[in-house]
């Protein structure tokens, strides 16, 4: 797997002394969708801003396609597109003009065909002559994506791209991201909607207090850290779990009306059959059962709480 962004020992200390990043090392592979997750103030935006050149680094090194972001900034920045977290737009400019400006700024000759393609893919073509100030919040978000794609970047940073947008637009954006990946664009995504990362990401990184606490393939992460649970709703309240069932580590609900069993689907035996048999032996009857699987969000919350 070819590494497209290589971050080595990156530290960022702001003028006031706040250390936003602590010795962060991270590799992003070419053409993958990488989701960077973390609570507010974890360092996600600082990390992105450093790679893009908006914030200066204190220590460490960042290579983009093998080129140093400080020494070879022309080469590295030309390959990167950024959709920022906030929605800064040139209020008085039309969509077309602002996208044309972005393309020129990143050193590309005018290419109306490409801009047309980008605007059409984001359902902005019929608004191309509209001033940004006349657009809705969701439309402005699309304009920012169009601007980031105007110079045909190899790497796209999306810093919470769907914050505050409606469900339909979110689905549209997910589709755009998937198409970009198919075209070979590397996408680095930060989001508060863990569902977004679950839907899109190939790999997931979790950052907290300026430190990367985990980087893992998303499917493997969900397989290895995700829990499957079987919940049995009982006919009668249970005072306590019988000692004969201790090996199952059952959890009794607060109303004593349900027991929960955590099991591993990867193991040879889930233990479900044995559990049900032993419940019958213990004369514990149930009238309903359900299974559930922990989401990426549950895993994320667990990880962050453990780190704290």
């Amino acid at each position: 797997m070819q590494t497209v962004i290589d971050i080595r020992g990156l530290t960022k200390t702001y003028a006031g002394g706040f250390q936003a990043l602590k010795n962060v090392s991270l590799s992003i592979n070419k053409s993958e969708i990488f989701a960077l997750l973390g609570p507010n103030g974890a360092g996600k935006t600082t990390l992105i801003n450093i790679v893009c050149g908006i914030t200066s680094l204190t220590h460490g090194e960042v290579l983009v396609d093998g080129d140093d972001i400080v020494r070879d900034f022309r080469l590295t920045r030309a390959k990167i597109g950024l959709v920022p977290q906030e929605m800064p737009t040139e209020s008085f400019e039309t969509v077309w003009n602002t996208c044309r400006f972005s393309r020129g700024l990143f050193g590309k000759a005018a290419n109306p065909d490409h801009l047309e393609k980008v605007l059409k893919s984001l359902s902005l073509w019929d608004r191309k002559d509209t001033k940004s100030m006349e657009l809705s919040g969701g439309m402005k978000r699309r304009v920012l994506i169009a601007k980031a794609l105007a110079h045909e970047p190899d790497i796209l940073f999306l810093d919470e791209p769907t914050a505050g947008v409606d469900v339909e637009l979110r689905q549209d954006m997910w589709n755009v991201v998937k198409v970009l990946r198919e075209e070979g664009v590397t996408v680095i995504l930060t989001t508060h909607y863990i569902e977004e990362a679950e839907q899109l990401a190939d790999r997931v990184g979790v950052i907290n207090h300026g430190e990367i606490i985990l980087v893992e393939d998303k499917d493997r992460l969900m397989r290895e850290m995700g829990k499957k649970q079987l919940t049995l709703h009982l006919y009668e309240q249970l005072d306590r779990i019988p000692t004969a069932l201790a090996r199952y580590n059952l959890e009794l609900s607060d109303d004593r009306q349900a027991v929960t069993y955590n099991y591993d689907t990867k193991g040879e035996h889930t233990g479900i059959t044995d559990l049900i048999s032993e419940l019958r032996d213990a004369e514990i009857r149930f009238n309903d059962l359900q299974t559930s699987q922990s989401s990426l969000e549950d895993i994320f919350v667990d990880l962050v709480h453990k780190a704290q």
């Binding site: 050149g53 209020s91 008085f92 400006f101 393309r103 700024l105 990143f106």
Partner: protein
Amino acid sequence: MNFYAVKAIYRYEMARMFRTVVQSIVAPVLSTSLYFVIFGSAIGSRITEIDGVSYGSFIVPGLIMLSVMTESISNSSFAIYFPKFTGTIFEVLSAPVSYAEVVLGYVGAAATKSVIIGTIILATASLFVDLEIAHPFIMVAFLLLTCVSFCLFGFLLGIWADGWEKLTIVPILVIMPLTFLGGTFYSISMLPPAWQTISLFNPVVYLISGFRWSFYENADVSVALSLGMAITFLAACLLIVRWVFKTGYKLRT
């Protein structure tokens, strides 16, 4: 050289001027024309010639300079301050452009606007008073030097300012008094000796004096000194702009 980036910034800024043509061009030309009417025609007719030049004609170079200086600062400071204020500056900071290219785009466009305004005022003045330009090339050189220098100064002001008040306080409290006391409406030689000496600490005196010399060959200070001061001011602004971009002062965290 990222030529496309320079062109994009330049074109974007020029488009802003044409979008706000009343504010950018009509307003300064109109206010300067009022000066011609009031000082040149109404009051000027009662004032005797200065160094053999009618008062109406005498004030023309000073009024062009006054307008060009204030417009240069206003245009370029707003050009960089507004993206900072709205947050769109992130795009310029993340683009593959050097500080020289950014300055070339923003300051180049602002200086172009100032030259356009200066030229329109010159043409307008010729409708009210008799004008002669003894040294047109030197006149153009002074005009360009002043436009570029004050645009650079305004650019620095826009980077330094972190609020609208700061953006306007320097032009109102510093630049305006310096230009009015810099010989726009009078010759320094008309002042008492002590005030003549004090005036020599005002850098605007040198610019107006040199510019006026290119018209009528009358100057308060030597043309070489005026030119030297203008170049020194330009060099100082360039050095500070370079330092700002190298350190990221008020731009990069």
